[in-house]
């Protein structure tokens, strides 16, 4: 996923220097709804001998079928047993972005205020089996809108299957740099719909929960998980902030450092998956607890975040001729803003933020797809925290996303298989409310609907 701190935050684009900790609370929006990274890696197909369509709805990542879920939980190590597989892949995402009304300032110094044709991502991956029980997904991404490259998602896993009570049980460890990147169910924010979106348009409001991309690529974490009988999934882990020097070495902008994470940081996940081959469903709960000291002072006041989410999904797979999916999630975040309050950057010491997402898709012949989603972000008002660029001190944003796409390859007899895949699509994001209001949310006459974003994209991997 892209990390675009200077372009992602409208507040910064407007030249308003907001402290990074404040941004975590109030300005993670384009992380949340904006550019989503993309997983559709032919190196996995080459390793397993399977088609992209075996593991991905619509024959393109990152939307996983139950087979894809098992492959990820298995540590990216499953194979057809043949030697000579090289776990390397590449990916390009480019597109044309048009917003209903031109933006107040150009999203980046290399783009215009509207009608941008961009190379959004050029990524290289080490992705696949490294040893019998060791696999990795490591992504390095060049951002064509920023002319900048950085370490993107990292998920290195060790996993092994044991017999527990007569049932196969996978035990694994994930080391990763983004809470939720290790999750296999496409309901949490990191891998949720839309699976790609414009780097220079609008994908959501500016406020987002912490687990919704607020820490990505600036932390390192480890979690242990178990997957019993292809059904019950349980995971627990913890995270620490990367030092500022490591963040800089891996390409992250120094201005985006969120500070130091408390030692009691906990990530947890519990889910059930039922795979009937012709259809499947999942249901689960997840959470993330941490406290952040923005100035990295050991005795300084902290901002506390307590995120709890529930999620569910359903897939009709049938004979794979007609495939339908529904995903939903709800995240509730409680905040205790001791540092922000002390420094006069929040009116209230406590507050909350809720995010609801629901989306559905239909694919014909694993090639032609249509999708629609609804996103609703609501939270308690705070006139200081949600000040510049917000109306009424409110973080509320609501909107919808519609997408149609064509994935000509990725099937058994496809051209270039298993070396190439392609998705062409058109996506439209429309806003009913943005940063607290339908009209004039920024005080300068900009309406929510002015941010409606058309994105035509080409997304290829090899």
């Amino acid at each position: 996923m892209k990390n675009k701190p200077n372009s992602a935050f409208p507040g910064l684009r407007a030249g308003i220097a907001r402290r990074c900790a404040t941004l975590l609370l109030a300005s993670a929006g384009l992380f949340a709804g904006g550019m989503q990274s993309a997983h559709a890696l032919p190196s996995f197909a080459r390793q397993t001998g399977q088609d992209c369509a075996a593991c991905h709805v619509g024959a393109y990542g990152p939307q996983l079928t139950p087979a894809g879920v098992r492959f990820k939980i298995g540590g990216y190590t499953d194979t057809d047993g043949k030697d000579g597989k090289v776990p390397l892949s590449g990916m390009l995402v480019g597109g044309f972005t048009h917003t209903k009304k031109k933006q107040d300032e150009a999203p980046t110094v290399h783009t215009d205020r509207n009608n941008n044709t961009t190379l959004d991502e050029a990524s290289l991956f080490v992705a696949g089996r490294l040893a019998e029980n060791l696999g990795a997904f490591i992504q390095w991404t060049y951002d064509g809108t920023e002319h900048h490259s950085a370490l993107d998602h990292v998920d290195v896993r060790a996993a092994r299957t044991f017999d527990v009570g007569g049932k196969d049980t996978v035990f694994g460890i994930s080391v990763n740099n983004n809470p939720g990147v290790q999750d296999p169910f496409n309901t949490m924010p990191v891998w949720g719909f839309p699976y790609t979106s414009s780097a220079v348009g609008f994908g959501g409001g500016d406020a987002a929960t912490l687990i919704n991309g607020g820490l990505e690529h600036r932390v390192i974490g480890a979690s242990a998980y178990a997957f019993w009988d292809n059904s019950l999934y349980a995971e627990i882990g913890t995270y620490r902030a990367l030092s500022q020097s490591i963040q800089a070495d891996t390409g992250q902008h120094r201005s985006g450092d969120m500070g130091r994470l408390d030692g009691d940081t906990v990530y947890w996940r519990l889910a059930w998956m039922q795979d009937w081959k012709q259809q499947s469903f999942t249901a689960g709960v997840f959470g993330f607890d941490t406290a952040i000291q923005p100035d990295r002072i050991s005795s300084g006041p902290q901002n506390h975040y307590h995120d709890v989410g529930v999620d569910a999904s359903y897939q009709f797979l049938g004979t794979r001729k007609h495939v339908g999916t529904i995903y939903t999630s709800y995240i509730h975040e409680n905040q205790r803003r001791n540092d922000l309050f002390t420094k006069g950057e929040a009116t209230n010491r406590t507050g909350h933020l809720n995010e609801f997402r629901i989306n559905a898709s239909y694919y014909f012949d694993q090639t032609w797809g249509v999708s629609a989603g609804r996103f609703i972000t609501r939270g308690s008002r705070d006139t200081l925290l949600y000040s510049d660029g917000y109306a009424n001190g409110s973080p509320n944003t609501t909107g919808s996303v519609f997408q149609a796409d064509w994935t000509p390859f990725g099937k058994e007899d496809s051209w270039g298989a298993p070396w190439a895949n392609l998705r062409l699509g058109v996506q439209y994001t429309l806003f009913d409310k943005f940063n607290g209001a339908r009209h004039n949310y920024d005080g300068n006459g900009r309406d929510a609907k002015d941010n409606n974003t058309l994105f035509l994209f080409a997304w290829t991997s090899f």
């Binding site: 057809d80 047993g81 043949k82 007899d413």
Partner: protein, 134 residues
């Protein structure tokens, strides 16, 4: 000329179909009642992630083209488990049915990651479909 060719095709197809039915019947007498079309759907639902029915197309598992009558673990381009190689199985209606029903019971320590298909009618349809793959 084109009309003549068309007329020729019909009996040839009929003959080909009869041959297939005869072969299938000879190979899998216990599954003659299986619904081939439904079996094709069962294949798509249960097997196609890992197997192809195209000749020479080995995916994670071997091609199932001409599976009936074939000795287990006999395709050179596929990495089989020791257990399957040493099983001495030849795929026919009975061995396919029991393997598909419970792979790990039929071939302990095999590598096929499939829990099995409990529906006997679905297995019957599937085996009937597999028997047509020649």
């Amino acid at each position: 000329m084109a009309l003549m060719k068309k007329r020729m095709i019909v009996p040839v197809r009929l003959l080909y179909g009869l041959c297939l039915m005869t072969l299938a019947g000879a190979a899998v007498p216990a599954h003659a009642a299986g619904d081939i079309h439904r079996g094709e759907d069962v294949f798509a639902q249960e097997c196609a992630e890992c197997h192809s029915v195209r000749e020479g197309k080995n995916k994670k598992g071997p091609s199932l083209f001409a599976i009936v009558g074939r000795k287990a673990a006999s395709i050179g381009d596929v990495v089989y488990s020791d257990a399957l190689r040493q099983s001495g199985l030849t795929w026919n209606a009975t061995s396919l049915d029991s393997y598909i029903a419970a792979p790990r019971k039929a071939v302990p320590n095999g590598k096929m990651k499939y829990d099995g298909l409990g529906d006997a009618k679905a297995r019957e349809d599937l085996v009937a479909y597999l028997a047509t793959l020649h």
